[in-house]
Amino acid sequence: MPAMPKRNADIEAGLFFTLFGGLTAALSLQYNLGTIAAMGPGLFPLMLGTLLAVIGLVIFIKGILFGGEEARSLPLWPIILITASLLVFAFLLLTVGLTVAVPAQVFIALRASQHFTVKRAIALSLGLLAFCYVVFVYLLGIPVPMIGI
């Protein structure tokens, strides 16, 4: 029996796929299943979900029996910062406009890098703002608000 990695990727993946497949199958029961000849909207997702749940179980069992691959460790802080930078951008874009959304995104996202300095963040923000204005607003004519509505 091969050595069991500490964090087993196969067990995690197996659980994930089983849960997702099971959830899909369960949710598809609320739609009309129909018959094989005249399938309702629920039948195909029910089949896919069931199949996925079974395959998830196989991956799970394989992980328990054979050890499987080791899971990679997630960079927690960058994940929080990058996701936050996306959410903040989306929120600020329509409330205050691109002029604020871009610097906010750059400052938050750049925090995720070890190379963060205020000077670099300012320089990048200014450069990106100019780029956005020239390419998106001026050249491509995308109706993205520079200053909020």
């Binding site: 005249a38 909207p41 989306a90 996202a109 990106l128």
Partner: protein, 501 residues
Amino acid sequence: MNFFSNLEIGFATALSLNNLSFCFVGVLVGTAIGILPGLGPLATIAMLLPLTYSLEPVTGLIMIAGIYYGAQYGGSTTAILVNLPGESSSIVSCLDGYQMARNGRAGAALAIAALGSFFAGTVATILIAAFSPALAEVAFLFGPVEYFAMMVLGLTAATLLAHGSFIKGVAMVLTGLILGLVGADVNSGTYRFTFGSFSLTEGIEFVAVAMGLFAFTDILTNIRGDTAREVEAPTFSNLWMTGREARQAAFPVMRGTAIGSLLGLLPGGGAMISSFASYAIEKRLSKTPEEFGHGAIAGLAGPESANNAGAQTSFIPMLTLGIPSNGVMALMIGALMVHNIAPGPYVMVSNPEIFWGLIASMWIGNAMLVVLNLPLIPLWVRLIQVHYWILFPIILTVCCVGLYSISNRVLPIYFAAGFTLVGCLFWRMRAEAAPLLLGFILGPLMEEHFRRALLLSDGDMAIFYQSPLSISMLGIAAAMCLVVLLPQIRRGRSAAFTEET
């Protein structure tokens, strides 16, 4: 002759000033991202896709295609000059290309790579033009049963040949198929899995899925390894190859082109597998295998041609059958769908300018790349030195503006943020995300054909093995699944991919 009149339509389309300039932009961007490590063609195309929506469909496709094959050229430049594969398909080029550069033959190596790629690109373009109509003829005979069987085969093969665990790949395809079903059901109009939200009735925005899973997840996994790269600018004593070098390269280039063209056709095939296969074959055929790894010309010329040919011919299944063979092709199908063009054999008939224009543009783009690549090398060397901390905020902002521009709403940005978290989870669990994208694109089509097939047969499952075409395709898919479960083959596969990570 039809062939030439078709090419005439194609060149007339591709040579319009507008298309020509977007082809140029495409290959330029492609070369740049091929050079930049940490930014691949899939993420870049996802990033730029929304911006092509406002263009004519053919113009958008020409640019996307340019990015894809341009990246193959760019990747080899960094591989040769600084031993850094900018692209996964140019890992093999590092082996002998970099050694040639160290022996003072950097110029010759670059010239061989560029000219070999150009030759391969030309041959592959002719192959696409010659065989696509024939393949489309076959596709016209397909009914829903055959289409369903072909999708099963395509997805199985794509998962099999993509790297990573096969069974997890299958699970990812299924996850993608399920996600693709979100929204209004075509037959009954029922809203499925929308959780009462009106914004999900048209399905999940696929650019948001692609950006979240590829562009943003890539940023997160690259951000920690961001250290300054020291690059010595190589000196060019002589940019041209000698006659002897050209003769040594000639046969490997032809063999590489043949291998790449063939492997590119397979679902899941394409540039990377072609280059590995070509390297192995050149080494086997060589009279001096001990030279490999120390600057063998054949070890550079073969794989370089193969990866370009493979990148080009992987368009054939997408253009004729509407089946994506890799993630980039899935994005192109998505781009066609945005313009209400159903990918498949009908594109050639209903929109010949799209089909032939794209093909003609590939040849023009390849010619541009040869001209572009060699004189701009000093610039490309500077580009390698760009720090990742400059790059990733740019990617983020361009993606966000692109997501917004799809429908002038911020909702897709929230979705992309959600899929970034999912993508990180997949990365942790070592599940490749590309098969998910293929499933996502094919989900609704697959359901449609499945339902129609069983409607025709009045619910009799036997219809799937009564059609000879269908049973042979399903049989091949089943056989592939069995083969991959045999342990020795699995070991061989993992050995082939260990070099990549």
